[in-house]
């Protein structure tokens, strides 16, 4: 295997394998493979597509911050990395999807903060929110990462709340406190009180497999579109129109190919949900 994943809790070996396969496919590449142990921060300065790889690093962080990469999110990251379709850039793409942290993330954050204009910053936060709520849930870790990205891009807590409401059609929840008994008890009580098909949109479930891996069902479709059970056809159509406007891939073109690929996948999921609800 050409890609050596780092031995950390944030490793993404499946993703590394898929990028590795891509590397093997492009083996005719004249460029030498990056030396083992070279981080994103080391390779970043050589790349031509700085914005796209920074975006990829940040989105990989959002996808894997809850300690797991569900199949759907993994496929999404795969497509994003394919979007930066330049064999010369495989080294840095590998590094970006290896769940960069610390210094690597700092490089990506610094670049995006410095180079994105106001509109681009808003789009990045919208994209991060879309990525985080792919499965209809928002875990504590995703909540904290979203707060950080919004802060980095110059948003206030209120601004993030408004933006989240536009995209998810529900208020931005307060991050829970996994170091308190109260949070654990509330979480257990909440889970037991609600039937499985109505499990709350912000159950912040960190232990169970992600809903992103489940096939699209009626309840998941409702969650994806931010609707309550029993929503009328008009309400479903209005929600779809509103969400399609905010999540349309064309809006993310200024952020580069990685962002467009993310938005395309999110849009497909929205369309899938709409198809089920309107059937």
């Amino acid at each position: 295997m050409l890609v050596r994943a780092r031995a950390s809790a944030w490793d993404n070996p499946i993703m590394a394998q898929s990028v590795s396969a891509k590397r093997e496919k492009n083996d005719a590449d004249t460029r030498a493979a990056p030396a083992e142990g070279q981080s994103f921060a080391d390779l970043f300065h050589r790349t031509q597509h700085k914005q796209s790889v920074c975006m990829l690093a940040i989105l990989s962080w959002v996808a894997a911050c809850d300690g797991r990469i569900p199949r759907r999110e993994q496929e999404l990251l795969d497509k994003i990395s394919e979007a930066v379709d330049d064999p010369q850039e495989l080294g840095v793409i590998e590094a970006a999807v290896r769940q960069p942290q610390g210094r690597d993330l700092e490089v990506a954050c610094r670049y995006l903060k410095r180079n994105l204009d106001r509109g681009g910053r808003k789009l990045l936060v919208q994209l991060a929110v879309t990525m985080a709520i792919q499965d209809g849930y928002l875990t504590v870790t995703e909540n904290l990462v979203l707060q950080f990205i919004a802060d980095l891009m110059g948003f206030s807590p209120r601004g993030l709340g408004k933006l989240f409401e536009q995209i998810a059609r529900r208020p931005f929840p307060q991050a829970g406190d996994p170091s308190s008994i109260k949070w654990w008890l509330e979480r257990t009580a909440g889970k037991q009180a609600r039937p499985a098909n109505l499990s709350g949109s912000d159950s912040q479930d960190d232990l169970e497999p992600s809903a992103a891996d489940e096939p699209m069902t009626y309840s998941i479709a409702l969650r994806v579109m931010g609707l309550e059970p029993g929503a009328t056809r008009e309400a479903i159509h209005a929600a779809y129109r509103r969400l399609a406007k905010t999540r349309h891939p064309d809006r993310y073109a200024p952020l580069g190919s990685a962002a467009v690929a993310t938005a395309t996948e999110a849009f497909k999921r929205l369309h899938e949900a709409y198809a089920i609800l309107s059937a």
Partner: protein
């Protein structure tokens, strides 16, 4: 969120017995929380993941100048605030740097040492008053 490992002064990979020993010495205010979370492997795994993320975010915020924003400067993240290490030799344990101490350090600069320091406060007042009087004088001169 509380950083139990920091408060207990143990490593994240510490075995359960080490944790139990440290928990006996912990403050009663949060000991119950720590026991509930750390002594259950599933809860501990979730807690550890969140803690690691907050440590990463704390480090990023420090380096990106986002330490004092409305998102982060909240009591709930107090355990994860990171400060740049002060330059120079480490201070004696238990000695804290506060505003009064910094002011004292500036006052103490001078050949006459500490005795001089006591008078610098009055010196500042006199100097500031002098500048104000001069400014008023200029204003008066140009106005008439």
């Amino acid at each position: 969120m509380k950083d139990f490992y920091k408060r207990l002064n143990v490593d994240e990979s510490a075995p359960e017995q080490t944790l139990r020993d440290a928990l006996h010495r912990a403050s009663a205010r949060w000991r119950q929380d720590a026991e509930y979370v750390l002594l259950d492997p599933k809860r501990r795994a979730v807690y550890d993941r969140n803690r690691r993320l907050l440590l990463t975010i704390g480090e990023l915020r420090l380096h990106l100048g986002l330490n004092y924003t409305r998102f982060w400067a909240r009591q709930e993240f107090k355990d994860f605030w990171q400060e740049l290490a002060p330059a120079g030799p480490a201070k004696a344990p238990g000695r804290k740097v506060d505003a009064k101490m910094i002011a004292g350090a500036f006052r103490a600069v001078g050949r006459r040492g500490r005795r001089h320091a006591a008078r610098v406060g009055m010196g500042w007042i006199l100097a500031t008053s002098g500048v104000i009087v001069l400014l008023l004088g200029f204003l008066w001169h140009f106005a008439t």
